[in-house]
């Protein structure tokens, strides 16, 4: 099969890239070894957060937020997004100091999306929070979406523009010759001048095949969700000195994440919950919202994600091969970035340039590590 661009990985990054390419007339085929959104893209916490990003990610995150706020114009669906703000709570003066420093740093970089709020405003926004917190850092128009709904919307829009997605299609071999790229799968052979690696936790071997190995580590951050509760909190809550991401979803359930990892058997693609670490998440929630102690956890899971040692993604041209590109390693905060990453890759592929600063995400940064 011949096409213009072959994308490995039918997650959000793959579809977002294909969507932008298809809008500009390029033909694409996406190959996924499972089903679209089977791993990180479909089962992440759905955070749409600019708050507390690594400075290198801020420009991309801001550009992406603009796209999320108008996501229906891109994919004909609002992806069930809500923008009630994201908050990072300071439980004591030391926390508050750290948050103030963070706010000052972001301001000095020339951005105004993160601001400090005092306790008065904090309790106005989150009356259910335990008493005696000091204040918080807030990004008022941050929010969240439903990942699988987003994936579904991106996939449908992309496919409506003629992109094909071949699922259950594992890429066994990658070659390059004068005619371009050749991918061999159990059922057929694909050819295209351009190759894109959006394979998430499985991106490492592809990069290595291209002669640019990366120190990618697969991990499975655990999430837990509770039974439905009457609405009692709007913004997404984190804490300055605790691992926590906490939000009440559209339907009233509470989604609790804390970046604690499940035991992962990568080869079998199976995860086992680490209950001791989930207990820490439960303790954290109870510390901030003691009234929730009798809320019952109904489900836990862990999607398999790609982590880089510096927790920054690879968004990059290949440093070794012509017409090959990478977007992976989002280290459990890629959902928010997916619209802009598709745009950046499409620009790199079609225009050989992008207006966004992507140097920090270059794959070459790992050259000396491997």
């Amino acid at each position: 099969m011949n096409t213009d661009v072959l994308i490995i990985g039918g997650g959000l990054m793959g579809f977002s890239t294909a969507l932008q390419l298809a809008k500009r007339g390029a033909r694409c085929i996406i190959l996924d070894k499972d089903s679209p959104g089977r791993h990180a893209s479909g089962v992440n916490a759905g955070g749409l957060r600019r708050l507390n990003r690594n400075p290198a990610e801020i420009p991309l995150s801001i550009a992406s937020a603009e796209m999320w706020h108008d996501i229906a114009s891109l994919v004909d669906s609002d992806c069930d997004t809500r923008f009630p703000g994201q908050i990072r709570v300071a439980e004591n003066q030391q926390d508050m100091l750290a948050l103030e420093q963070r706010a000052a740093m972001v301001r000095d970089l020339g951005y105004d999306h993160e601001e400090i709020i005092d306790r008065l405003e904090l309790y106005k926004l989150v009356p259910a929070l335990m008493p005696e917190c000091e204040g918080a850092l807030i990004c008022r128009s941050d929010g969240y979406g439903r990942p699988f709904h987003a994936l579904d919307a991106f996939r449908r829009k992309t496919c409506s523009l003629g992109v094909e997605c071949h699922d259950s299609t594992r890429v066994d071999q990658i070659d390059h010759d004068h005619k371009g790229w050749r991918l061999i799968t159990p059922k057929s052979e694909y050819r295209a001048p351009v190759l894109v690696n959006c394979a998430g936790a499985w991106a490492g071997p592809i990069a290595a095949t291209l002669g640019e190995p990366v120190p990618l580590k697969a991990g499975a951050p655990m999430l837990m969700i509770t039974e439905r509760l009457p609405r009692f909190i709007e913004p997404v809550i984190g804490a300055a000195s605790r691992k926590l991401s906490f939000k009440q979803m559209q339907n009233g359930t509470l989604l609790i994440g804390g970046a604690h990892m499940a035991e992962l058997d990568f080869k079998r693609q199976s995860t086992e919950m680490n209950w001791a670490k989930l207990a820490v998440s439960a303790q954290t929630v109870m510390a901030l919202f003691p009234q929730l102690k009798n809320v019952r956890i109904v489900r836990t899971w862990a999607g398999i994600e790609a982590f880089m040692p510096d927790h920054l993604p690879v968004i990059s041209r290949s440093s070794t091969s012509p017409h090959a590109y990478h977007a992976f390693g989002f280290s459990a905060h890629g959902f928010q970035m997916s619209p802009i990453v598709g745009k950046i890759l499409s620009q790199l592929i079609l225009d050989d340039q992008t207006e966004l600063p992507i140097e920090p995400f270059d794959i070459k940064r790992f050259r000396n590590d491997m």
Partner: protein
Amino acid sequence: MSAAELKSHYSLVIIGAGPAGLCAAVAAAEHGLDVALLDDQRAPGGQIYRAIESIPTERARLLGSEYQRGDKMVSAMRNADVEYYPDTQVWSLSREREIGLLCGRTAAMISADQVILAGGAIERPLPFPGWTLPGVMNAGAGQILFKSQGIVPADGVVLAGSGPLLLLLAWQYMHAGVQIEALLDFTPMRNHLRAMPYLPRALLAHHYLLNGLKYKMDLKRAGISTVQNVSNLRAKGEKSLESVSYIHSGQQQTIETDLLLTHFGIIPHIQLAQAAGCRHNWDKRQQCWRPQVDDWGNSSIDGILIVGDGVGIGGARTAEHAGRLTALQAVHKLGRIARHERDRLARDDRKWMRDEQHIRPFLEAFFHIPAKLLGAPADDTVVCRCEEVTAGAIRKAISVGHDDSNQVKFLTRCGMGPCQGRQCAESVAHIVATATGKSLPQVGLYRARPPASPLTLEQLARLFPDEKE
């Protein structure tokens, strides 16, 4: 026993105190194993021998002689050196045999060298329009009320479905003087033909056939007629059930009633085996997923054995024998008896078990649920009771390209409610398979998402009080 007495480790933990679990516990204790028997219910016996220790004699008589067998099994367990923990729900089981449980209201994590899952069966959830209305219940629920509390329908009842339990319940109700408005049999006529080839073997276990015939004749004599070959069941009502309609001989019929009990067979309760990651296979004849086990109950995971109706429907007597066999295997694996000793001790149970199984192929063919009933409910039928996802919504998700159970779940939220998909997993798989033409193994079941039963944030938090970030 109570949570405070739980040890952190046992050589053998058995989950489920029905016939399989009871017999396994007794056999293992006889060989000196350190055994904990955990059970969801407040008293031993499982669903089949529910309330056997507390039931008044008169009510026990109404339930028949098979029920009374449970008495011996339960007292054997009570007299054995077994730590029995009632009111204990297991919410997690890992490959390494770590067991998360709630004993009363206290969460605990224990471990075992060997685990025997004897979780039994659940009634096959089969969605039809109106099945969520108050007044519509499982036939098994009717039997539970009868067994444990002597509670029966007050103003008549409609029984509907297909399977031996339906007939048994009708017979038990008849003896208790309950007014049976109608017995609607959904078993298609063609199943009589389908079952014929298995009749000769079934005759080797003719007491089951005779019992069935006796129930039928007793019911007929009492003037309770069975309406055969019915279809298109619908429960109707505003706030609760008011009437039941169905089609018989091309005619729609309606019966006014405030109580409908339905039954469409039973299927293994595989939640924990799935959570542990045991391999499961689709069984065409039993129309259910079954954990893969060998002759000794070994699952695909070392140290986790599964037995009784939880591996495939074999009935209570089969479960007794299999329970003992599996216990012997656990005893053998723990080095207490040699292989030949295990084989010798297993001989009788193995033979009896074979005898018990003569009836199964016949029953499976006779009560085979038609594919249309399983996989093609009307669009307005609620399939996921918790999240109220209809068959129409599921088919819509399928039509836009989500062609396996898990994708449908992600998109529609079916299976994401508190019951953890127990009431819709099978139906969703059937609906996807019917709509896409894929096989059931291709469509798959929901992936396990622990906890298998909910626990509170506080219960989890207290489980590891010293754990730090």
